[in-house]
Subunit: 341 residues, 2 copies
């Protein structure tokens, strides 16, 4: 058996813990967790197995020290899951890169960072090149359903006139923190207030995904309009993290539009609410030929993100140095799947 | 405007002619046709515009001379559409590569040539490297619907247990030569005889697509069973290139199975018959999470193939030298699409 790829886990939150459990329980034939980093003092010094909910101790202690942890454990790659925002992860990614370690991050803004902050993006790219490491941001969305998938689906098109991407999920199937994040259980006025004060921020990544898609096919968008998240209410009671009565917010709907002149060239719709009867991802390309795909159900967000973070490891290890995006890597796929028997 | 990419067209048949018309009529902002090659004596010396059905003369003569045509016109890339079989295209691809020109071919067996003939594949790879050129086989199928698409759709999977890919098309919407190729209008006995004597060969590319998919996700298939094409008959009359009466062959159905031990790990179904009520491409991945996408209609085969051949040009020009597959290139997409307004 070839030597296993050594992974350091940075951020032992909900997604990071699930990555840890998945690697230890299902991926032990080709990768192993050798280190864990988290800034939370309540996790520091504890066994990773306990913090990540493995149900047993694992023999790796969670540390809040980036440099010394990486230099002493010498991982091949870091899986990083701490924040959605580029400014928050910048110093963490810099520290990882300066230790000479590749990194795959779930940071939504990192999926297409040049549109968030050109200076940070250039700086990270330089640091990555100087240290001969690769930095990639990915996940299910951004990272797959609203960028990689529609990009690939334009391949068989001679002409493209309009692209619509939509994702609808029944939030009752998701974690309670996710349900709370989308406002479920709030009164409509509370929801609107929560939007105003930033307590509800909407889905992070719509403009990243749309920019990646437009750039891939050569469209120059004049602007991307990210509409404010709207509350979704229903006329009947549904059950989520609490009972959602009629008129109470079940979740949210958000739209984004990519404009070329006065033309709505790309349209995104994202709906997540408790009680959604249909769950789907859909990509509709008006063009020659028409390409219109729809999934049932929608791709599960948590599993999908965990899979993207792990499946990209072999490709990122082989990639050129620098701050890259999913558009730079060869065809993504599940990696090293064990035989189904 | 940057200089346009110079394309030589090799094979001025149905698909080659459509590539020529598409480039001249719709892609003139970034590519141009500078040469045309075809071995048919009836085309040799004629104007490409007339041969390709452009409706006007174009000023490029079709030639049957590969070396002199390429050396005198100095194209950046050849679009090659002459045959489905590796053995038939070998000497043509060798001649192109030895002129130092990249090539994208619709040859079905070239999409994953190492499983067809390792010696030819190695030889072409060596010739390509020695001449610093890239050789790619692509198209809609193989090239997209049964390989690239299911490969990409495994990306968000932590686990993959079974993959089913199916494509169904109403052959009434396709060219008459295609309708004849799938046996439409034959009696069932004639169809069976045509299978026996090789007049109907079934869809070329199923084993290429399935091998590419299995290799991408790390499955070792013990064998691929390509079942013989079966005739499809209907209980009512339908209209195609001729009236298809009940009991007469409307088209064909073909299955392929990728076996691991006694387990049917990957299953392909391909149906093309006149009168098919639904047209779709479907990829169903049993795994964690479930990923199940279906299109309506199926992606048009002719437009799709033409698009794949043209859209891959920028990526192939930038690619490393050698005989490559779609799995080696970065994320495929439509290329250089003009603004939709």
């Amino acid at each position: 058996m070839p030597e296993r790829i050594k992974v350091a886990n940075f951020g032992v939150g909900v997604i990071g813990s699930a990555v840890v459990r998945t690697i230890i329980e299902k991926k032990s034939d080709w990768i192993e967790i050798v280190a864990a980093i988290d800034s939370d003092p309540n996790k520091n010094g504890k066994d990773l197995g306990d913090v990540a909910g493995l149900g047993r101790s694992y023999g790796v202690k969670v540390s809040d020290q980036v440099e010394s942890t990486l230099s002493s454990t010498n991982p091949d790659i870091v899986i990083h899951t701490t924040s959605s925002y580029l400014a928050h992860v910048y110093s963490q990614l810099k520290a990882i890169a300066e230790q000479g370690v590749d990194v795959i991050s779930s940071c939504e803004e990192l999926s297409y960072p040049q549109i968030v902050d050109q200076n940070i993006a250039k700086d990270l790219d330089n640091i990555a090149r100087q240290n001969d490491v690769t930095i990639l941001g990915t996940g299910i969305n951004p990272g797959f359903v609203m960028d990689v998938l529609p990009i690939v689906l334009t391949s068989p098109c001679v002409e493209v006139e309009h692209i619509r991407v939509s994702r609808q999920m029944n939030a009752a199937n998701r974690r309670i923190p996710f349900q709370k994040k989308i406002g479920s259980g709030m009164k409509v006025e509370e929801f609107k207030q929560a939007i105003k004060n930033g307590q509800i921020s909407g889905h992070v990544g719509l403009s990243q995904s749309m920019s990646m898609l437009a750039d891939a096919i050569g469209w120059k968008l004049d602007r991307i309009e990210i509409l404010s998240p709207e509350p979704v209410t229903l006329d009947h009671a549904v059950t989520g993290w609490m009972e959602i009565k009629p008129g109470i917010v079940a979740g949210t709907e958000q739209k984004a539009v990519g404009m070329i002149g006065q033309t709505r060239a790309i349209e995104y719709e994202f709906r997540a609410y408790i009680g959604a009867k249909e769950e789907y991802d859909a990509v509709e390309i008006d063009g020659t030929p028409v390409v219109s795909f729809r999934s049932s159900p929608c791709i599960n967000g948590d599993s999908g993100t965990i899979a993207m973070l792990i499946n990209m490891i072999p490709q990122v290890l082989k990639s050129k140095a620098g701050l890259i995006t999913m558009s730079d890597l060869p065809l993504p796929s599940a990696s090293n799947m064990p035989s189904p028997i």
